[in-house]
Amino acid sequence: MLANEIRELQHKLLEMAGLSEQMLRQAIESVLTRDEALARTVIATDDQVDQFENEIEAACIQLIALHQPVASELRFLTVVMKISHNIERLADKSVAIAKRSLELLEYPPVKPFVDLPYVAQVIQTMVKDVLDAFVNRNAELALGVRERDNEVDDIYEKMLHELLTILSEHPTLIPPGISILLLFRHLERVGDLAVNISEEVYYLVKGDIIRHS
C-alpha cells in the first residue's frame, strides 16, 4: 500500500538526484577542460530534471490526498517535495555553471583555477553525503554536511578576493572575470542547497525543524 508507493517515490527521487549530480560533475568538468560539448549536454539535460520534479510533486500530493498519511510517512512526503525542489534548483545551478563555461570559451584562459577543483570536490561530496544521509536516514551525516558549508563559504571568500585582486590589476580581464565571479557564486549556492536538503533529512529522521537555527 502506502509503504510500496513510498519506496517507489524514494527510488524516483534518487534517480532525479543521480541525474542532477551528473549534471554538476559535467558542468564543473566543462569549465576545467573547456569542453563545449559537455557544457551543452548539461544544459540539454535540465528538462529531464524539471520533469522529475513535477512528477514527484504530483505523486506526493496524490498520496497525501488518498492516504492522509501521518507521522513518519507524512514527514517523508513533505520532505520529498522539498528535497526534489532543492535538487531541481541544484540542476539549475549546474546549467548556470555550464553557461558560464560557454561564456569563458570566448576568452583565453584567465589563470589556472587553483582552488576550484578542490571546492568543487568538497561541494560534490556534500551533495553525495546528503543524499546518502537521506537514503540511510542518518541525521548525524546530514548535520555534518550542514557544518561543512562553512568551509565552502570561506574558500568562496578567498577565491573572490583573489579574483578581485587580479581584475583590479588587469582591467581588460573584467569581462571573463565577471563570468568567473558568477561561476564561484553558483558553486557556493550549490553548497547552500545541499545544506537545505540536509535540514530536510534531519527533520525526516528526528522530527525537529532546524532551519534558521
Binding site: L2, Q68, P69, V70, A71, S72, E73, L74, R75, K206, G207, D208
Partner: protein, 255 residues
C-alpha cells in the same frame, strides 16, 4: 487547536483497573487540562472505554470492577463522593449509540433540570431551547418538541443526547465513540460541535478512528494493552510520535 496549558481539571495518578482478576488498565498517570479536547485512541480492547467511563463513575455497577490509584476532579477524589449522580451532573456522558430516555424531545433535554428541581415551565423551556440551539438541532425540532425523538435520524438523536448532557451544565463532557453509529455528514456535525463546546467545557473522548482524534483533539493518548503508551499534544502524536508502537498505530500498520 489549543495547545497552551490550561489548568488541570482531572488528575489521574497511578490508576490500575481490574475486572475480577483480569487487569484492564495499568499504571496510568496523566492530567486533563481545562477546556481542552483530550482523545484516547487505541485498538479494540485496549481499555479506552473503561478509562473514559471511570470519569463518569459508570463502572460503579460493573461486577468485579476494582481500581487502585487516584482520579482527582479539581483536586478531590472523584470516588470519594458517595452519590455518583452528583458526579454526573458535573461530568456528563454521551455514548456510542444514542441513548434516548422515554418521553418527548422536550422531556429528554429538560431531564437534568427537572432532577435539579427546576419546575417552572418558562425556565424549563428556556433551558431546552438554549441547549438545542447549542447543538444546532433547534430549527429541526422546534415544531415537534412534544413528540417522541424516535422519529429523528441517528445523527439527530445523538445531537439530542449531547443537548441533554449539556443541559446539566457539566464542566466535563465524556464521549465514548460518539460517531460510531453515524454517517460521514453526521460525523462532521458532531466533530464540529465538539470543537465549539471546548470553548466552555472540557471534553474527553474515546475513539478507534485515528483521524477523528487528529481532527478534533488538542491532546491525545495512545492506549495499548492497558498501558498509556504515549500522551501529549495531538500534533506531536500525529507528526512525530516518540514510541514506535504509537507510530505503527497512527500510520495504520497496527490495530
Amino acid at each position: 487547536m489549543k495547545t497552551e496549558k490550561g489548568q488541570p481539571i482531572l488528575n489521574i495518578r497511578n490508576l490500575n483497573i481490574w475486572y475480577g482478576d483480569k487487569g484492564i488498565l495499568s499504571s496510568l498517570s496523566f492530567e486533563v487540562q481545562e477546556k481542552q479536547v483530550t482523545a484516547f485512541i487505541g485498538p479494540a480492547n485496549c481499555g479506552k472505554s473503561t478509562l473514559v467511563r471511570c470519569f463518569n463513575r459508570l463502572n460503579d455497577f460493573t461486577p468485579n470492577f476494582k481500581f487502585t490509584g487516584e482520579i482527582l476532579f479539581k483536586g478531590s477524589s472523584l470516588y470519594a463522593e458517595q452519590d455518583a449522580t452528583t458526579v454526573r451532573k458535573q461530568i456528563g456522558m454521551v455514548f456510542r449509540r444514542p441513548t434516548l430516555f422515554r418521553g418527548s424531545i422536550h422531556e429528554n433535554v429538560a431531564y437534568a433540570a427537572r432532577i435539579s428541581n427546576v419546575s417552572r415551565t418558562s425556565e424549563l423551556n428556556a433551558i431546552v431551547e438554549k441547549n438545542l440551539r447549542r447543538t444546532g438541532l433547534w430549527n429541526e425540532v422546534e415544531g415537534i418538541l412534544d413528540e417522541t425523538p424516535v422519529q429523528l435520524s441517528t445523527g439527530q438523536q445523538q445531537l439530542l443526547c449531547v443537548a441533554r448532557a449539556l443541559a446539566a451544565e457539566p464542566e466535563v463532557l465524556i464521549f465514548d465513540e460518539p460517531c460510531g453509529e453515524l454517517d460521514p455528514i453526521e460525523t462532521v456535525k458532531i466533530e464540529t460541535l465538539m470543537r465549539e463546546l471546548a470553548n466552555d467545557c472540557t471534553l474527553i473522548f474515546a475513539t478507534n478512528k485515528r483521524r477523528q482524534a487528529a481532527r478534533v483533539s488538542d491532546v491525545a493518548g495512545f492506549l495499548y494493552g492497558g498501558e498509556l503508551i504515549e500522551f501529549g499534544a495531538t500534533e506531536k502524536i500525529f507528526t512525530n510520535p516518540q514510541d514506535s508502537r504509537t507510530e505503527q498505530y497512527v500510520t495504520g500498520r497496527m490495530g
